[in-house]
Amino acid sequence: MKRVLVTGGASGIGAGTAEYLAHHGNQVSIIDRVDSSAAPWWHALPSESRADWIVADAQNRVAYVEALKSVASGGIDGLVTSAGISIKESFLDSTDDAWDQTIGVNLMGTVLAAREVARAMVAAGVGGSIVTLASTVGSSAVATLGSHYHASKGAIVAFTKSLASELGPYGIRANAVAPGLVKTPLTQFMRETLGEDVLTERVPLRSMAQPIDVARAIGFLLSADASMVTGQVVPIDAGQLMVMGQPLDGFAEVSVDAESIAIL
């Protein structure tokens, strides 16, 4: 059984990913500032798929690193860094505090987790795979999401490429996923203020992702099926990132069942 750590696994993409990986035969540990270890979905997992649930906040670095070390020391094959926050402030009104928090959780949380896990993987000499959480805002502007959030995700993109370069010789791959709009607590404010129609009209496939959609891409990148993929940023964005000029009335409704937009 392969061992994987998911940070930010209590909710949103992290929880969806932890659940997905556990159901695909992996043993999952979670580090989150929230304790949801009593949640039904966690208990519904096969007991051998559930390892640690450690409550720790990336902003408390000493405790966070301690939690990371305790998970990584048991041996580790994969890491997903999905702990992330977004603070609603315009750039002109943005506060130092919000910048510190966003960079602290999103960027430094990712860095600390990757460092501890990579050290453990190198020491064990078995290689591994790391997936970080970038976003469409990691390479372009999305209105209403804070400038600090953009900066943190852009930094994660460059950080992940650097990881791929430094860790390649140890057989460790590092990639990012770039979700567009996903139905999670983090995007609730945006979905409620702008409306889901406005948001889906921006994207060719006219859909909003569920956490499971992102989980599938993360699972693929963590697995040996992606053995030649490293340093990449894979969008799960319904086509949003490639669009440089959307149709004036938005993209048209998809005329066939959107759930079946796929084959095999």
Partner: protein, 270 residues
């Protein structure tokens, strides 16, 4: 069971994708200028599992006719367009014949297959997924790959995005893969001339890709696992495109093979 057209399916990346799909129970129709006798594994499967049409993808009428005919037998669900050639001359060295031949096969050949398949999907009101084959040379500069190859592979990127945006409304997804150097017959002369280790040292992976490793990514893009990814150019390059400044002596070959690292496959794609 799905039905996928694979152009250039008689060798290299196309062949790797075709065999994987057929082995997992899908129907594949190969379009290739070679004859079907060039496929060693052909006899292991029945004509219901794998079809073969010998044709030239640069001939638009032939491609249109072939796609209509093969979809009448079993309705189509998607395509991989991997027919391609490589020419290596720089701008001042490449003959205009070589340049136009490279554009004809790599660009027009891809357009022809994509157009025939998209037209068929729209007409039959079926959703589908297509994967085109670009290259590192379609995303940036690669020494030794020449002008025709760069131009044609960058054009494949433009084709992919244009079709992704315009036909999403019909439930059609299309993405490109952008491999680095893959151990295929096409790359053989490059590997022999420049040396496998020297080529591999350009990317963090420190080794060249096997066709199978490219095929797995193409298969993921064809499958419902990637249902919200379209218009993406997916580099499968051992990290080559992520690096603009490699270590002085290049990347070493790794002691740990990434095919045995990380998590196990998430399982057979549905």
């Amino acid at each position: 069971m799905r039905h996928v057209v694979v152009s250039g399916g008689a060798s290299g990346i196309g062949e790797a994708v075709a065999t994987r799909l057929v082995r997992s129970g899908h129907r594949v129709t190969i379009l290739d200028r070679r004859g079907q006798e060039s496929l060693g594994w052909w006899r292991d499967f029945s004509p219901r599992q794998v079809g073969f049409l010998s044709l030239d993808v640069t001939n638009q009428e032939e491609v249109d006719r072939a796609v209509d005919a093969l979809s009448e037998e079993v309705p189509l669900d998607g395509a991989l367009t991997s027919a391609g050639i490589v020419t290596r001359g720089a701008l001042l060295e490449q003959s205009s014949g070589d340049l136009s031949q490279t554009l004809a096969v790599n660009l027009s050949g891809t357009v022809n297959v994509v157009r025939a398949v998209v037209r068929n999907l729209v007409a039959t009101r079926r959703s589908g997924s297509l994967v085109t084959v670009s290259s590192m040379a379609g995303m940036g500069y690669v020494a030794g790959l020449g002008v025709g190859y760069h131009v044609s592979k960058a054009a494949v990127v433009g084709l992919t995005r244009s079709v992704a945006g315009d036909y999403a409304r019909h439930g059609i997804r299309i993405n490109a893969i952008a491999p680095g150097v893959v151990k295929t017959p096409m790359a053989l002369s490059q590997i022999e001339q420049q040396g496998e280790q020297r080529l591999a040292a350009r990317a963090p992976a420190g080794r060249l890709a096997e066709p199978e490793e490219i095929a797995k990514v193409a298969e993921w893009l064809l499958s419902p696992e990637s249902r919200l990814t379209t218009g993406y150019v997916f580099p499968v390059d051992g990290g080559q495109s992520a690096v603009t400044g490699a270590p002085a002596k290049g990347y070493p070959s790794t002691e740990v093979d990434t095919r045995n690292a990380g998590l196990d496959s998430m399982g057979e794609l549905s």
